[in-house]
Symmetry: C2
Subunit: 233 residues, 2 copies
DNA sequence: CGTTCTACTTGAACGTGTTCAAAAGTGAGG
DNA sequence: CCTCACTTTTGAACACGTTCAAGTAGAACG
């Protein structure tokens, strides 16, 4: 159902029984509902188990920690975003509205979870955590996310030197991380500030990218992409 | 002793008794030692209390949570950085080595704590946490940090338009946040990767700043500073 | 049908951060 | 020296994430 299979303590085999799968999803959906209703911090594992009609231990049989339940939510959100973005990618070809649309769609999809998103980022910030956006374990989710931005770039009217074009999707992903960071801290009504950030920063990015044609700018950009490539390995 | 006074549950009056101050510092120094020796996660409040020869409750009388003990450490680190950086600011006037020196000094000062810095960032990432670098409560520490970068800019040979020069210290602070984020995830020997990031990104920033003289670039920069000013309020 | 193997489920118990009512100290005023 | 109000200190108790030894259920095999 959700994008990434969350690995459990016992490394469940691929062909789990039907009943097991049902229990797994029952626990997950109950957890997500309680997270939404009362926030992550106030939702206890005991409450999730009771509400789902199972024992605490059973919840841990399927999800090795409370954080993994949140991870499952994040995967869920990613999938929703991917779906919601398809129509924009299919129709809108101009770079600025194309990127703006993708970013604002994320905002819409994630809106219901804004309140406890802080908790997610809290655990995601820890380097050792599998939830960290930079960790090995979240690589599939990260690559799926970068892939969206690759489509944004490739399907747009942008004309760019090949090396920059190759790095751009990951840079845009990084930009989105920054926006999410801003979003998490944004408590303005209707997320006005984050929306404003998106609407104003995207044209700026666009203009910056077009500037790379200037000879003086070109050198700096080359060094920048070289630096990024070095650091990635 | 340390930069910021950590507020306690009972909002201790300014003139606390001598004995009280001693207990407070005993608890803090014991905590920091144990954090260093065994990491943040493995250090229990009970262990801190026992090692300091007081009761658990007493530790909570002075520091309202385990995180606040970490906050106290962070203030300590900031002060150390400020001191360590003074000689560079006094002597080195060229922008690139001046900024590089400040950033690398931070790395040196923070090195002993690299291992449990992840935990600090974990809690710092939560928006509601007073430890968040964007929170009101950490404003004094943040401003002190930005102030260092203001000195870096003002005392250097950089020639810049006034509006950009005014925003630059905060941008450099943001840059440092990014470097710290990288550092937290960096497990290369002797922090080679983070050092490389500093040594290569600073000249890049320098070149970028000098590019602002180009007419085409100037407009983008103006919009960028305008955007930042908007978002700050 | 009985046996056995595996997937699943249970809930008591543990460790740790945190709270709090009560005890112990401290010192100024009488 | 006593009293009273204050700060400081105590440690038992609580809540919650997590673990684990023990149990149940159902399928596969003889």
């Amino acid at each position: 159902m959700f994008g990434r299979e969350v690995t459990t303590l016992t490394d469940v085999t691929e062909r789990a029984t039907l009943k097991g799968e049902q229990t797994r999803e029952l626990i997950l959906s109950t957890a997500l509902r309680l997270f939404r209703e009362q926030g992550y911090g106030k939702t206890t594992m005991r409450a999730i188990a009771t509400e789902a009609g199972v024992s605490v231990g059973n919840a841990y049989y399927y999800y090795s920690s409370k954080e993994h339940l949140m991870q499952a939510y994040y995967d869920h959100l990613q999938d929703q975003h991917r779906e919601a973005v398809a129509s924009i990618l299919a129709t809108e070809k101009a770079f600025v509205p194309r990127l703006t649309g993708v970013l604002r769609t994320w905002l819409e999809v994630a809106a219901p979870y804004h309140e406890f998103a802080g908790t997610f980022f809290k655990t995601a910030a820890e380097p050792k955590s599998p939830l960290s956006p930079f960790s090995d374990q979240s690589r599939p989710a990260r690559e799926a996310s970068v892939e969206i931005f690759r489509q944004v770039v490739d399907g747009s009217d942008l004309k760019l030197p090949a090396d920059l074009k190759a790095e751009l999707p990951e840079l845009l992903w990084l930009m989105q991380m920054g926006i999410v960071l801003f979003w998490v801290h944004d408590d303005s009504p209707a997320l006005r500030r984050t929306k404003s950030l998106i609407d104003r920063s995207v044209p700026l990015v666009d203009r910056l990218l077009r500037l790379t044609r200037l000879p003086g700018v070109r050198g700096v950009v080359n060094d920048l992409t070289a630096l990024i490539r070095t650091l990635k390995t």
